[in-house]
Amino acid sequence: MAAINRDDVAHLARLAHIEMSAQELDRMAGELAVIVDSVKSVSQAAGDDVPATSHPMPLTNVFRDDVVGHTFTAEQALSGAPDSEDNRFKVPAILDEA
């Protein structure tokens, strides 16, 4: 497993949509390197024959009947919105064309 460096952290921060200063990237890279190093034994712990467990309890087929339940009014839906217009959530431009 490759060590985690500053460029990796910058890439991950982009994926995670968290802006980070150069300083933060450096610090985070150092911290993550320690953590990643200490968890690396995990990849050697289990052989190929061991199945993965994604849920602690083995439930299957949990369904809901197709019956309409409660809804919000637009006002309720938008009550916590940082910005809205015409009963819709307002967001800045998606593309940078400035």
């Binding site: 809901r64 197709d66 309409v68 839906a77 967001v91």
Partner: protein, 502 residues
């Protein structure tokens, strides 16, 4: 706005062999959403068909809609797929403001249906088998409206508004394996494939299948390779191809564009393309980049779906007649010739004709109206015939008026124009426009006399038994009465006057 060079389709076909692939998203018509109990309804006021789950509020959890699972299994079965013994949902992680949780709950390596096929009949009756890779369950995103800027498009917009009513609507995504060997029929096959999917899901009753509402949406993958080469070329993925004709045009355009790129010695860029109906061209979306690291992992808030074989068989037993079998049956019922029926199918009006017959028209009347009147208008208006919004009841009413002799066929056609222009019902339009067959024989007889006098030679021919020649006189009378006369009655009166009995 588009400056991409293209080659002629013929030249492209001479040099290259197209490989296609389709991802068709079908919106299910369940009452509620995929993972929440909010209503799945199109066209309501923004952000009213939502609850905390659809808005991705803190603390919410999804619960799978059983009907959506059943619909997905039905689609899988209708596409001759295997139904998974066990499958899971996964999270597809990406940030976009129409995606309330900033991940889409979808299926990744464990789709509910896989390894199927669909036999597609082309316009000349050739059957082409399209292999289905998978059909999986997922949820739709909300709707973004781009504001400001000139075009209402994302480019140049100042800001966007988000309506989450559509967020969480159940989708089934049907993915084909690479389709090889279609050659120059690739655009036609593309249209026929999407039409077949639309027909199947509509027939199953699992989707409203209205493309104009986005119930069926197609992403078309196109790549070219030189003839004789096995390895696929680099593909583009054209999104937003939302009518049958657009599918055909988009595939055709991309083939021409790729060919020009390759001809110029350049590599095709693997990217998303956006289809523009107005210019019938595609433009570049964003290239595939690290933003496409979706970090799929099993959705921990949902448990596996394990369709028992009994459940699958129960669902199989409820499947309606497959469209191909249905076509065979309908052709027999309606008594259309092979050619007539194929024309109907290719024009995309089979369902409409069936509905019109169900509303009370005869098979021949229904065909006459749809094929003779409506298809041409749709072509002129550049839309699918069904999109014109002609109601079966309108056709029945019009046909009835003709049959009763209230109006003739020519007037009926004018009335149809009026209906399409939103002037009201056929009866109202007849009234408003003062359309009525002239039934008083007096003025007609005068017109007939004049017509006979103008063409004495023709009158003689008729007297001598050449009854077919009567058409020329009828034509003269119709012209004189500006089409208001009942042509049948005119013919009778002429023959009577000339003492000819038929």
């Amino acid at each position: 706005m588009n400056t991409d060079a293209i080659l002629s389709f013929e030249e492209a076909m001479e040099k290259y062999d197209p490989v296609l692939g389709f991802e068709v998203h079908v919106e299910l018509n369940t009452r509620t959403k995929m993972f929440s109990s909010a209503p799945n309804v199109f066209g309501d006021e923004p952000n009213t068909n939502v609850n905390e789950v659809d808005l991705g509020m803190p603390g919410v959890l999804p619960v799978v809609n059983k009907t959506a699972v059943e619909s997905s299994i039905k689609i899988g079965l209708a596409l001759n797929c295997k139904i998974a013994e066990s499958c899971r949902f996964a999270r597809k992680n990406y940030f976009y403001p129409d995606t309330p949780k900033n991940f889409q709950t979808s299926q990744y390596d464990e789709p509910i249906a896989y390894d199927g096929y669909l036999d597609i009949e082309l316009s000349d009756g050739t059957v082409f088998r399209v292999e289905i890779e998978r059909a999986h369950m997922e949820e739709d995103a909300g709707k973004l409206t781009h504001m400001g800027g000139a075009t209402g498009r994302i480019h140049g917009a100042d800001f966007s508004l988000v309506d989450y009513n559509r967020a969480g609507v159940p989708l089934v995504e049907i993915v084909t394996k690479p389709i090889e060997g279609a050659g120059s029929r690739a655009p036609e096959l593309a249209k026929a494939y999407v039409a077949a999917i639309r027909e199947i899901v509509k027939n199953l009753g699992v989707s409203d299948a209205r493309m104009e509402r986005g119930n069926v949406r197609c992403d078309a993958n196109v790549s070219l390779r030189p003839h004789g080469r096995e390895r696929f070329g680099i593909r583009s993925e054209t999104k937003n191809v939302n009518s049958l004709r657009a599918v055909e045009h988009a595939v055709r355009y991309e083939i021409q564009r790729h060919a020009a790129v390759l001809d110029a010695g350049n590599p095709v860029v693997q990217e998303t393309r956006h289809w523009h109906e107005d210019t019938r061209t595609t433009t570049s979306g964003r290239p595939k980049s690290d933003a496409d690291d979706y970090r799929y992992f099993p959705e921990p808030d949902l448990v596996p779906v394990v369709p028992s074989r009994e459940w699958v068989e129960e669902l199989r037993a409820t499947l309606p007649e497959p469209p191909a079998a249905r076509r065979k049956r309908l052709q027999g019922d309606w008594g259309y010739s092979d050619l007539e029926f194929r024309d109907v199918v290719n024009a995309g009006v089979m369902d409409e004709i069936e509905e019109t017959i169900a509303a009370g028209a005869s098979a021949s009347i229904a065909r006459k109206w749809w094929m003779g009147e409506i298809v041409g208008r749709a072509k002129a208006a550049d839309v699918d015939p069904g999109q014109l919004g002609v109601q079966p009841a309108t056709i029945v009413e019009l046909a009835g008026m003709v049959e009763d002799g209230k109006i003739n066929n020519k007037m009926a056609s004018q009335v149809l124009d009026g209906v399409l222009a939103g002037e009201g019902s056929p009866a109202e339009i007849v009234e408003k426009r003062g359309l009525a067959v002239v039934s008083d024989d007096g003025p007609l007889l005068e017109a007939i006399d004049a017509a006979l006098a103008a063409q004495p030679g023709v009158a003689d021919k008729i007297r001598n038994g050449k009854v077919q020649a009567v058409g020329a006189i009828v034509g003269g009378v119709m012209k004189a009465t500006r089409g208001q006369a009942d042509a049948g009655r005119v013919r009778e009166l002429i023959l009577e006057k000339l003492g000819v009995t038929v």
